[in-house]
Every structure is written in structure tokens, then in C-alpha cells.
């Protein structure tokens, strides 16, 4: 399969983030988007019409934070800026980051 190692996430105000595919797959929503015959699956480009740039940036930071710490215990909590906390909460809900992601389910 010619899937690239990276995918691109686009916020509604046009910011683009290139993320490690494996890291982004902890999100149920992104996994569903990249599976099957969607446009996203072919281009590796996911556009989010409801997430602002700064919020998506934090989400991307979280993907890498989670990916880097996936096998460790006593992981220090990531810092969440208070001002975008609610928006981030909505984004986390939208992306299906509510329960503990299962790394081993990922294929």
C-alpha cells in the first residue's frame, strides 16, 4: 500500500498540520476517515470544518505526546491552555479521544 507515513490535518481557518499517521490513528474519527473509500483515505488529507487552528495545533501536540508516551507509566500530564479548554474538549469529543485509546488495535 502506498500510504504515506504522514497525513495532513487542516483546520477550518486553513492551518495545515502534517502528523505521523500512526500517532493520529488514536482518534476514532480520523481512523474511520482514513479507512474505506473516502477522499481522505486516498489523499491522506483530513479537513476539519469545525476546529480552529490553535485548537487543532494542541490536538496534534497531543497526538505526538500520546504516541511518544504510549508505553510508559507515570506520564506527566500535558499542559492544556485554559483559554481554549472548552473548544479543545469539543474537539476531543468530535475526534473520539474520550476513552483510553488502544494502541494495539491499530493496524
Amino acid at each position: 500500500m502506498s500510504d504515506s507515513k504522514y497525513i495532513t490535518l487542516v483546520s477550518y481557518d486553513g492551518f495545515e498540520f502534517v502528523v505521523l499517521r500512526e500517532a493520529a490513528l488514536i482518534s476514532e474519527t480520523i481512523r474511520a476517515m482514513l479507512r474505506g473509500a473516502f477522499k481522505e483515505a486516498q489523499t491522506g488529507r483530513c479537513e476539519f470544518g469545525e476546529i480552529r487552528g490553535p485548537v487543532l495545533e494542541k490536538v496534534v501536540e497531543y497526538f505526538h505526546y500520546y504516541h511518544a508516551n504510549r508505553d510508559q507509566t507515570d506520564v506527566p500530564d500535558m499542559d492544556i491552555p485554559v483559554d481554549i479548554c472548552l473548544e479543545l474538549l469539543m474537539a476531543a469529543d468530535f475526534l473520539g479521544l474520550d476513552s483510553r485509546p488502544q494502541m494495539r488495535d491499530l493496524s
Binding site: 490536538v59 485554559v82 474538549l89 485509546p101
Partner: protein, 621 residues
């Protein structure tokens, strides 16, 4: 003013004024303030004295100059007058000169002072002269007791030691001072940063998470991170917006955990369109706040309040009169609702009620209240009465008449004869899905037989602390082809023999022993998700090995509690992990034969008796 000088100054004194006492209680010494003010006054007095001296000196120097020779008597007067005028002007000029010089010296002195350096650092590279002058002017302010015009409103006021400085020099009167204080709150002292406590602290936190059931390998989910941040800063939130219900519920739980739910934060959870309000900690809410819930959520269907101390008669009465039809009522700790109000509420509002759960209402939820339910709550499917000191066998007879009941949980303090339970099971048994009896030492095998005979759709069964049930009874419950499908939840905690003189011997096989355990795993092992055989200490290691042998798997099992089962060994624990592939947590407190067990990756083993307290997820795949 150091602490030492203060304590040194403390001595036995006569009666003090109330203000002095108050100030002393806030670690402010009235005496100290007075001394400071006096010092300032003295300093000022010396300054003026100095000025006068200077003027006198000026005059003296003039006088020292060669005395003018009076030419004529006539001209003498005007001359002297002129001369005097000149000398006065000269003196004034000189005095001014001196004053300026003095000021300059003072300013130079200020420039060298620590305070100046500090302020300079704070302000960066603004003009030295300006800062010094500002400081100087600050010093030059009038003294306590004098009158002064307010720098802001120009009103005349008496200066006190507490008068504030205006931003650009001068003093302000107390009303303006209050305004100023509002505008720029003095930066609060930074809280000392909490140290993690090093390796021990981190490990302790991890163990705490294990016991909370929140232990995870890897980072937390983004959502819980956000919710934690939100809970920390909840005072900044004005509205939770249109967050989905489950998230709002998570926030509510987190807030209550930190005991942050109060009348202010409660408003965040009152959505007018919502149908449920779940208050996990109502300890800080008053009756008015409960009224507010009913006012702002008119379509309320499900109400849950823990620690509902102020959910009292008035609130129940209000609820009865409102057009709110609750389907689910969960009250914890509402001791102030009287029996009469319970009856009244159930009679008037019992119709739509589907679930009623009442916890820790010691005295007022009585048999008579239960007597009302069969007639006035035709839709009730779930009833839970926990930690109740009043309900007796009579109440159970009333419960037996609630034919719609599917879920029944009882935790009663009154001893009730097993026959009453048998009667209850006879009438309700066939449709019961949940049957939970907590702390029932008086229950015997007849109840197990009744469950076997009558229950056909049971999923959750709990019987704890029975001292009379025997192994044979448990075997009979599960073996002769009990036509109830496999249980999902089984809790037989502390069903064991209690004999202090011969604790090891159990000739009558009281409690859950080998055969009963094998029988239950044979019947429900495939469906069980949660098994608790805590302190069933007569189950032998052979029985465990037999049940968890290599060829048997229990796919659904996710949590097991086998603490204080003395015969559990390393091998048994290993077998359990092998036979239950989806097991997440295994509790083995007090299993002294578990010593060095290898735990598969991602599993949690809690309570191993070693120095680390608990062994958690191993590194074996």
C-alpha cells in the same frame, strides 16, 4: 519589623481596645503602627527644625556682614527697610537654594538606596531621576493626623497611617483608596509549588490511581486532560456551552471529587432543556439551590443528589407541588425528609416513577413508606434501599407486592428472617434481574434454594456476609441445571465460617468452598464479567487450579476479587491470567502465598504482599 522585635515587645498589658485585639489576631501590631507613625512625625519635625535653622543661619550670616553705616537719620529708615527687604529676599532665596540642595542630596541618597534599585529593576530603563523624584515625593507626604487634599477627588481629609499613595504622588482619601485597591489588587503571594515528592511521591500517585481504577499505561486521554484543566479553573467558566451530556456529566463528577460543587458552579449544570440533573456532591447546596434546580429545569425526569443534606421536607413539598414528573429519583443522605413527606410525595408523584434509590436515610424511610409503593408507583422497576435502620420484614412484605420490580437492592440494618426473603422471591423471583443483599448474616441455604427455584432472568446477584449458607447450598443453587442464564455479576463476599476458636477447621463446610466455587464457574463462568469471592477462605488451591486449568477460558471476565482467599498461590494467579484473557484487574490482598508472580502486559495485580505493595502490569506479552 522582624518577628523577634515584636515578640520582645509583647508583654503583659492592661485591657486593650477591640481594634487592637482584632489587629493582633491578624498579626498586626497597633503599637508598631503607632511607633512608625511617631517616627515619621519626629523625622518631619526635625526636617522643619532644620529648615528654620538654615533660615536663622542665613540671617546670622547677614548680620555678620559689616553693619551698614547710617549716613543720615532720614535716609536710614528707608535704607534699612530696603536693606532688610533685600536681606529677607536673599535669605529666602538662599533657604530655597539650601532646600533644593537638601532635596538633591536626599534624592541622591534615595538613588543609592535598595528600594530605588529594586524599583528600577522593575521598571526597566526609565529615567533614574523620575523614579528617585517619585520616591522622594512619596516620602514627603504629610504625616498622620494632618489634613491633606486627596490627590484624586481633591476633598480634604485627615491623613492616617493607612492612607494610600496616589499613583502620581500625593495621598488619597479612604473612598478613593478603596477604589484604587479594587483597580490594582496587590499581586497575591504565589502558592508554593507542590513538589512531586520524588520517586516515592510518583509511585504513591501511581498506586493511588490503581486503587481508584484510573491507572493507565501511557498518557491520559485528551478529554480527561481537558476536564481536569476545566475543573481546576471552573471559577472562570461562565457557561459550558452546548457540550454533549456525557461530557457535562464527567465534568460534574470531577468537580464533585474536588468538592467544588457549590451554588455558583451548580448553575453550569442546569440546562433548561435537559431532562436530568446529576449532583454528585450536594453538601454545599441549600434548600434554595434545590428549588433553583426545579425552577430552571422544568422538564426534569432524572434527579440524582448525593450528600443531599438540605433536601428536606420543604424541598419535597415544593417538588410535590411543581409540575415535575420524576422518573428516576436518587437521594443520598437526605435525613431531614420525614416519613409523612415521603408518603405524600409517593402518593402524589409515584405514578411516573420508574426508579427509586434511597441511601443513608437512617430513620425516616420506613415500612409505612414502602407500604405506599405497590399502590401508588405502578411503573417502578428499580428499588434500592441502602443503609436503612428502619425497614423490617413488614417492609419486605410490601416490596413483595411491587410486581413490576426488576432490580432490587437492599442493605438493611434490621435482622430479617430468611422466610421473609423466600416469600419475596416467590412473588418477584421470575422477573428479577438484579438481586442484591448486602450484609445479611442471618440468611441461610433456604434463600439460595428459593433463588434456584424462582429466579429465571437474574444477571446480578449479591449476597454478602452470610454466616449460615453452606457449600452444599451454593452447589445446589448452581448445579442441578439452574434454568437461569449465566450471571454477569456475582458477589459472594465474606460468605464464610466465623469461628474464632478453630478458624482452620470447617467440618460443616460453611460458606463458599470448593464444590460451590466449581459449580458457579461451571454455570456462569462464560458470562461472568465481575466476580467477587473476597474472604471465601475455604476455597482450596486445587479448586482454583481445576477451575482455571489450561483448557478453560473465561472470555468475559474483566475484574476478579480473590483477596483473603488463603490458598491462592503464584500458580493460581498465573492460571487465572491464562484463563481470563480479558481480565484487567485482579485483587489479591492478603493472599500470603502470592510472592513472585509474572503479570502479563496491561494487566493489573493489586495487593501483593511485598515491599512495593502492589505489582502492576508486567512486561511479558
Amino acid at each position: 519589623m522582624s518577628r523577634q522585635t515584636r515578640t520582645a515587645g509583647r508583654r503583659i498589658m492592661g485591657p486593650q481596645s477591640a481594634l487592637t485585639d482584632f489587629l493582633a489576631s491578624h498579626n498586626i501590631s497597633a503599637n508598631q503602627i503607632r511607633l512608625d507613625a511617631e517616627a515619621r512625625r519626629r523625622a518631619a519635625a526635625q526636617d522643619t527644625q532644620g529648615d528654620q535653622d538654615a533660615q536663622q543661619n542665613a540671617e546670622v550670616s547677614i548680620a555678620d556682614s559689616p553693619p551698614p553705616v547710617p549716613d543720615e537719620e532720614e535716609t536710614a529708615l528707608p535704607f534699612t527697610i530696603r536693606r532688610r527687604g533685600r536681606s529677607a529676599a536673599q535669605a529666602a532665596a538662599e533657604a530655597e537654594e539650601r532646600q533644593k540642595e537638601k532635596d538633591k542630596k536626599a534624592i541622591d541618597k534615595i538613588k543609592a538606596s535598595k528600594k530605588f534599585q529594586k524599583r528600577k529593576r522593575g521598571l526597566g530603563d526609565s529615567d533614574d531621576e523620575d523614579i528617585a523624584r517619585a520616591l522622594f515625593e512619596q516620602r514627603a507626604n504629610p504625616l498622620p493626623g494632618q489634613m491633606e487634599n486627596c490627590a484624586i477627588c481633591n476633598k480634604r481629609f485627615t491623613v492616617t497611617p493607612y492612607s494610600r499613595n496616589a499613583p502620581d504622588g500625593g495621598l488619597v482619601c479612604s473612598p478613593c483608596g478603596k477604589e484604587l485597591a479594587k483597580d490594582d489588587p496587590t499581586p497575591k503571594k504565589k502558592k508554593p509549588k507542590r513538589t512531586s515528592g520524588g520517586a516515592v511521591g510518583i509511585r504513591r500517585q501511581a498506586q493511588s490511581n490503581i486503587l481508584d481504577g484510573t491507572y493507565n499505561v501511557g498518557g491520559k486521554s485528551l478529554m480527561s486532560l481537558c476536564i481536569e484543566t476545566l475543573a481546576k479553573n471552573i471559577d472562570l467558566a461562565e457557561d459550558l456551552g452546548d457540550l454533549p451530556g456525557p461530557i457535562v456529566d464527567k465534568i460534574a463528577r470531577k468537580l464533585s471529587k474536588h468538592r467544588l460543587l457549590n451554588p455558583t458552579t451548580l448553575s453550569l449544570f442546569l440546562q433548561p432543556t435537559s431532562q436530568e440533573v446529576l449532583v454528585y456532591d450536594g453538601a454545599k447546596l441549600s434548600a434554595d439551590d434545590f428549588y433553583r434546580i426545579f425552577h430552571s429545569v422544568p422538564g426534569l425526569k432524572k434527579l440524582k443528589v448525593r450528600n443531599a443534606i438540605h433536601f428536606k421536607d420543604e424541598v419535597v413539598e415544593f417538588l410535590t407541588t411543581r409540575n415535575i414528573a420524576l422518573e428516576d429519583l436518587y437521594l443520598h443522605g437526605s435525613n431531614l425528609i420525614s416519613e409523612r413527606k415521603w408518603i405524600e410525595y409517593l402518593q402524589k408523584k409515584g405514578q411516573p416513577l420508574q426508579s427509586l434509590r434511597v441511601y443513608w436515610t437512617d430513620k425516616h424511610f420506613t415500612d409505612d413508606v414502602l407500604a405506599v409503593i405497590p399502590t401508588s408507583c405502578p411503573n417502578l422497576t428499580r428499588l434500592k434501599v441502602c443503609h436503612n435502620q428502619k425497614v423490617t420484614g413488614e417492609g419486605l412484605n410490601h416490596i413483595a407486592k411491587i410486581t413490576t420490580l426488576r432490580h432490587l437492592s437492599l442493605d438493611l440494618r434490621e435482622a430479617i428472617h430468611p422466610d421473609v426473603y423466600i416469600k419475596l422471591l416467590t412473588s418477584l423471583g421470575p422477573q428479577l434481574e438484579t438481586f442484591s443483599l448486602t450484609r445479611v448474616p442471618e440468611l441461610d441455604n433456604t434463600v439460595l434454594d428459593a433463588i434456584h427455584t424462582h429466579c429465571r432472568s437474574l444477571k446480578k446477584l449479591r449476597i454478602t456476609d452470610s454466616e449460615l449458607m453452606t457449600d452444599a447450598g451454593f452447589t445446589r443453587l448452581f448445579t442441578p441445571a439452574w434454568s437461569n442464564p449465566g450471571l454477569v455479576f456475582l458477589d459472594l463476599q465474606k460468605c464464610r465460617q466465623l469461628e474464632s476458636t478453630k478458624p482452620r477447621e470447617n467440618p460443616d463446610k460453611i460458606g463458599l468452598c470448593d464444590e460451590g466455587f466449581k459449580a458457579l464457574m461451571e454455570h456462569s463462568g462464560k458470562t461472568l464479567r465481575h466476580l467477587n469471592v473476597h474472604a471465601c477462605r475455604h476455597i482450596s488451591s486445587e479448586a482454583f487450579e481445576d477451575v482455571f486449568s489450561a483448557e478453560k477460558t473465561y472470555e468475559n471476565m474483566s475484574k476478579m476479587e480473590i483477596s483473603f482467599c488463603e490458598e491462592v498461590t503464584d500458580f493460581v494467579v498465573g492460571s487465572i491470567f491464562r484463563s481470563c484473557p480479558n481480565l484487567r484487574e485482579l485483587n489479591v490482598f492478603g493472599c500470603m502465598k502470592v510472592k513472585d508472580v509474572r503479570v502479563p502486559r496491561g494487566k493489573i495485580l493489586v495487593g501483593v504482599p511485598n515491599a512495593r505493595g502492589m505489582v502492576i502490569e508486567g512486561d511479558e506479552d
